[in-house]
């Protein structure tokens, strides 16, 4: 049985597909979107997570750390080079302010975590795999979804589609729905901003359409990045050409993840907050102009 590395389970997920769902987040992503909502999901290996909001500054963690990775000044600082994720500080901390993000589990264990809430799924809810990038662990993902399908659950995959086509193909029999993120149409922008080309992504998208997969395309509207008229128009045009019946959803920017960057002692590059209703409407107008008929709104 395959094992995989996961970093979070969201139960009662209400935005990752139809109905009530459980969503499991897999670690590792080939892109590095500057606005990423789950920065802890990007590196494939585990990561020590410190939550300064609940820390009592008692120093117990500093005392037990075998590698000297921790220092306590105005707050606890983690030297990530030195930390080996041994977990000693997690055990010693009386406040649950330390945790390891990233846990290796078997496909069976992962499926059981997802199916624990099966009683809630109802006719159209189910399980969703997200990340990170699910396809970076596609063999594990396939096995997890297979087990969930066997148990009768509806299955969905959230993906940026940056993966070999064989990986995408492997998901076809086990995933009932694909939630595909398309961020930029312009290949140069895609490369310079996210660290990889987008032609593989678009090829995979066309492949999914050609195979009749159930696809919902989503674009996160990030101020200063994706939320430009040119970009949204170009994506909408491309989508409509590829699939006249495309279902397309614009996700309003959500600044809440900034708190995660604070915890990681990193700067969050996106300025500003969510788009106003009027701004959202002007983007919806573009979709209509480009012939998109199935605009999905929350």
């Amino acid at each position: 049985m395959k094992t995989g590395v996961i970093f979070e389970l969201t139960r009662f997920a209400t935005h990752d597909g139809a109905g009530l769902r459980s969503t499991l987040f897999l670690k590792g992503c080939p892109l590095s979107c500057p606005w990423c909502q789950n920065p802890e999901g990007i590196p494939p290996e585990p990561l020590l997570w410190h939550n300064p909001k609940v820390c009592l500054q008692c120093g117990r963690c500093v005392a037990v750390c075998p590698t000297g990775a921790l220092t306590l000044t105005d707050r606890i600082h983690v030297n990530r080079e030195a930390c080996t994720c041994c977990g000693s500080c997690v055990d010693a901390c009386p406040a649950a302010a330390m945790s390891i993000s990233g846990q290796t589990v078997t496909a069976r264990e992962a499926a059981d975590m997802l199916l624990r809430d099966q009683v809630f799924f109802g006719p159209d809810g189910g399980v969703t795999l997200s990340g990170g990038e699910v396809l970076s662990q596609w063999q594990f993902a396939r096995e997890v979804l297979d087990l969930c399908k066997q148990a009768g659950a509806d299955t969905a995959v959230e993906t940026c589609l940056l993966a070999p086509q064989s990986a995408v193909e492997a998901m076809l029999p086990v995933a009932d729905h694909f939630l595909v993120d398309i961020k930029f149409m312009d290949p140069d922008l895609h490369r310079s901003c996210l660290g990889a080309e987008n032609h593989q992504i678009l090829e995979n998208y066309q492949f999914l359409i050609s195979r009749g997969a159930d696809v919902l395309v989503r674009t996160p509207l990030i101020p200063g990045y994706t939320a430009t008229e040119d970009n949204i128009r170009a994506i909408a045009r491309y989508l409509h050409q590829t699939d006249p019946n495309v279902r397309y959803e614009l996700l309003n920017f959500n600044p809440l993840c900034r708190s995660k960057y604070d915890a990681l002692e990193e700067d969050y590059p996106v300025q500003g907050g969510a788009l106003s209703a009027a701004e959202m409407d002007s983007f919806y107008d573009i979709l209509v102009q480009e012939g998109i008929s199935q605009i999905i709104k929350e």
Partner: protein, 785 residues
């Protein structure tokens, strides 16, 4: 059903808005008018059998009490001339009124204005007659010390007011009316002897009073009609005149008759909660008849809302201590909608939707609207109800047939009666029209019992030894030894509790026979016995076990940290508890953070809660109540988790001394359920709902944004269906408002489970930076408008 859409589009009638504003603007007064009438009547009937004395006192009240009609009213009747008056009721409690009369306008909870001359009259002319003779004084005389000795663990109820929490047979009342019931009593009169004879006579007197009460309203309405020419008053006059002598036939007559029933029940009993139960079922034939006879939907809604307003005009005057336990003057007109027919088919009808629409217009505390759901509940009903829930009045609350019906059946209720169950008061379960449930016999503080067990039976707040001394945490060598001691402690207090409850019931039988109520509870008229004598078909007594979450969390912390992992010594923990964690913040932090908590779908922790709740329920089975029926367990506190928490010193779940316990009944401790609503529900579902046939209470909180979209509403209905599948008896949903979120900013500990669900991930509100929190608060307030 096209009707559903039509009903959902009906606006709030203008008449209702006028009446509502007027009602809410009127100040609330405590009144002694009925006390004066009752006292005089008693003085004139000295030496007669108690039930006759009481019936005559009621009759005199019905004949003499000042009545009033608002010019715009279509449904009339009240027991005080002002709305929301607090009725001083000397038969049950005069001494506490004497002690607290002056403080009524200023006390912290449930204030009433007073007239100074009333205080004087009460002290000089009413109090002397009742001193030593009211229920309150008699109970105190008989068992005062016993009640006080156990008070921190067991709160004995019904000591100074009549027993309520009853769902009368409204259907019968509508079909017979006072004259029909009187005829029934008369038919028994001749062949009966002694006490039975007195009983029938008392019923006849009560019915005479009821008819006269209705006539008086007819007379007043007619007078006012002649002055004003307002058509609604003429209609009221015709209806009241008819109801005084014959049964209801139309929807407006049925609503008016229903309201008279509840006003008179309160005039006789002055009790917390007489509940109409399944009004959408028994009123439906009248509704249909009127609809076929040209009543419009608009008219039906307006009439319904007139009654809805009425439900808010009777409030209940409690003593200050009791007001803490049951805050907000609840008098509990509980109306149940939906549910099933006897054959298991869905029972929803147009009235169910009409009632929901009325609720969405008024958003007042009464009626306490309850939705019965089952595995085949129609999606339309769940969606309509979800939208009303999203408006934030906490209603309708949701009851689950799949859990409640089996629970009732396993406590001796017939299939037929179980299928037709209703709710009384807040969340107490009952059969319809044939039970005296005595649902609030007592509240048992299991968390306090655990405190005594950990500390040699010594109350850590007072230093007095009030429990059994079985040792302390350092002398129990194993967790099992601790559990054995805990079981003994519970047994000890349960024994003493039952002795007290039995005495209280005896006092009610001797002092407070209720002929009017008995006439609408089956089998009283058939057997010639008052409800207080056990005349009802079902005779239960209910005790609440409080509070599963704190017991589970405390025992889990002790088991894990002291016995299993040995991260704390027993002495360390005891010292920390004794000093309220003063010099041991890290010990407290470990108790809170290093052991999983009830409400997070962690089986072994949840099972600890379930185990003691089970133990308690099984213990109750050993006893019979004063009317020969069984005891049933409930798992609810309403607002009592606050005063009951004040009775408990620091506990091993990390709760500070005198802080509130977990709320509701089966909810998790505030802020300790951090894995979302599904995990909470999975934990809750591990409690033995089949044993909690007296009722349970689960509170859940949602942000208003969840209800803003059709997808959100749909997902919410899916959650309701899962509650149904999980077999959880009850859940009530609170929609968080700005105030709650500001509180969450200030006291993050109590709101640690509060999440903001966004695409991509779920954020814990309390872990967000302040400016982000502010933004959510701003948006919540904005969206709520």
């Amino acid at each position: 059903m096209n009707q559903i859409k039509q009903i959902a589009a009906l606006p709030c009638p203008e008449r209702i808005q006028i009446l509502k504003e007027k009602m809410l603007a009127e100040p609330r007064y405590a009144t002694i008018e009925q006390a004066r009438i009752i006292t005089r009547s008693y003085q004139a009937t000295e030496g007669q059998p108690r039930c006759i004395q009481r019936a005559r006192a009621l009759k005199a009240s019905l004949e003499e009490i000042t009545i009033r009609i608002e010019p715009d009213e279509r449904i009339v009747g009240n027991r005080t001339p002002g709305v929301r008056g607090g009725v001083v009721f000397p038969e049950t409690g005069a001494s506490w009124v004497d002690r607290e009369f002056e403080t009524l306008p200023t006390r912290p909870q449930d204030q009433f204005q007073v007239h100074q001359e009333d205080i004087r009259e009460f002290r000089e002319e009413i109090l002397p007659y009742w001193k030593g003779h009211s229920l309150e004084d008699k109970v105190r005389e008989a068992i005062g010390p016993q009640v006080d000795e156990i008070a921190k663990v067991v709160k004995i109820n019904q000591k100074d007011h009549s027993q309520g929490h009853i769902c009368p047979n409204t259907k019968k009342w509508l079909q017979l009316g006072p004259s029909g019931i009187r005829a029934e009593a008369e038919s028994h009169l001749e062949s009966s002897r002694g006490k039975n004879h007195d009983f029938y006579e008392s019923v006849i007197l009560a019915m005479e009073g009821a008819s006269r009460f209705m006539e008086r309203y007819a007379e007043l309405a007619w007078e006012m009609y002649q002055e004003t020419g307002k058509e609604n008053l003429a209609q009221v006059a015709r209806t009241c005149r008819k109801l005084a002598v014959s049964p209801a036939e139309t929807y407006d007559e049925a609503l008016q008759a229903t309201w008279f029933l509840y006003v008179i029940l309160q005039m006789e009993g002055n009790a917390s909660s007489f509940s109409p139960g399944r009004m959408d079922q028994y009123l439906y034939p009248y509704y249909q008849a009127s609809r076929e006879n040209s009543m419009t939907l608009e008219d039906a809604l307006e009439l319904t809302e007139c009654l809805w307003l009425k439900f808010n005009q009777l409030v209940y005057l409690r003593n200050s201590n009791s007001a803490k336990y049951f805050a907000g003057f609840p008098i509990g007109f509980n109306v149940a909608i939906g549910g099933q027919n006897l054959d298991g088919s869905d029972a929803t009808n147009e009235l169910s939707y009409l009632f929901l629409q009325a609720q969405s217009h008024l958003l007042l505390p009464q009626p306490n609207l309850s939705l019965r759901i089952h595995k085949n509940s129609p999606q339309d009903l769940l969606e309509t109800a979800s939208r009303v829930i999203g408006m934030g009045s906490g209603m309708p609350q949701v009851f689950n047939d799949e859990a409640v019906i089996p629970a009732l059946k396993s406590h001796g209720v017939s299939h037929e009666d179980a299928m037709n169950y209703a709710i009384v008061g807040c969340v107490e379960l009952t059969t319809h029209g044939n039970a005296l449930g005595w649902s609030d016999a007592a509240m048992f503080n299991l968390v306090k019992a655990l405190e005594l067990t950990l500390h040699n039976g010594v109350d850590q707040l007072t230093g007095q030894k009030t429990g059994l001394d079985l040792g302390n945490l350092t002398t129990y060598k194993t967790f099992e030894e601790l559990e054995e001691a805990y079981a003994k402690q519970i047994d000890y207090f349960m024994d003493r509790m039952v002795e007290c409850v039995t005495q209280v019931e005896k006092m009610h039988e001797a002092l407070l026979p209720t002929p009017f109520l008995s006439s609408v509870i089956d089998d009283c008229l058939a057997t010639g016995r008052d409800v207080t004598q056990g005349g009802a078909h079902y005779n239960f007594a209910g005790v609440q076990a409080i509070q599963a979450a704190n017991v589970a969390d405390s025992l889990a912390a002790i088991k894990a940290l002291v016995y299993d992992e040995k991260k704390l010594t027993a002495q360390e923990l005891l010292d920390a508890l004794k000093t309220n964690f003063e010099n041991a913040p890290l010990v407290r932090s470990m108790l809170v953070n290093k052991v999983p908590k009830y409400g997070n779908d962690i089986e072994w922790v949840d099972q600890l809660g379930a185990k003691w709740v089970n133990y308690f329920a099984d213990g109750l089975k050993k006893y019979r109540n004063g009317r020969g029926g069984i005891y049933q367990m409930g798992l609810y506190t309403v607002s009592a988790h606050v005063p009951m928490g004040q009775n408990v010193a620091a506990s091993a779940d990390g709760r500070y001394s005198q802080e509130p316990l977990a709320d509701g009944g089966v909810s998790a401790m505030a802020g300790r359920d951090t894995h979302g609503p599904t995990a909470l529900l999975q934990s809750v579902a591990r409690l033995p709902f089949e044993k909690a046939s007296n009722g349970t209470l689960l509170n859940m909180k949602f942000l208003p944004r969840f209800f803003k979209t059709d997808t959100g509403i749909f997902k919410f209905t899916q959650l309701l269906r899962a509650v149904c599948r999980l077999g959880i008896s009850h859940v009530q949903f609170n929609v968080l408002n700005e105030e709650d979120l500001l509180a969450a900013q200030k006291y993050p500990d109590r709101y640690r489970g509060l999440t903001v669900r966004v695409a991509g991930y779920t954020a814990y509100f309390t872990e967000l930076a302040k400016d982000l929190q502010d933004e959510i608060i701003a948006r919540t307030t904005y969206e709520a408008v």
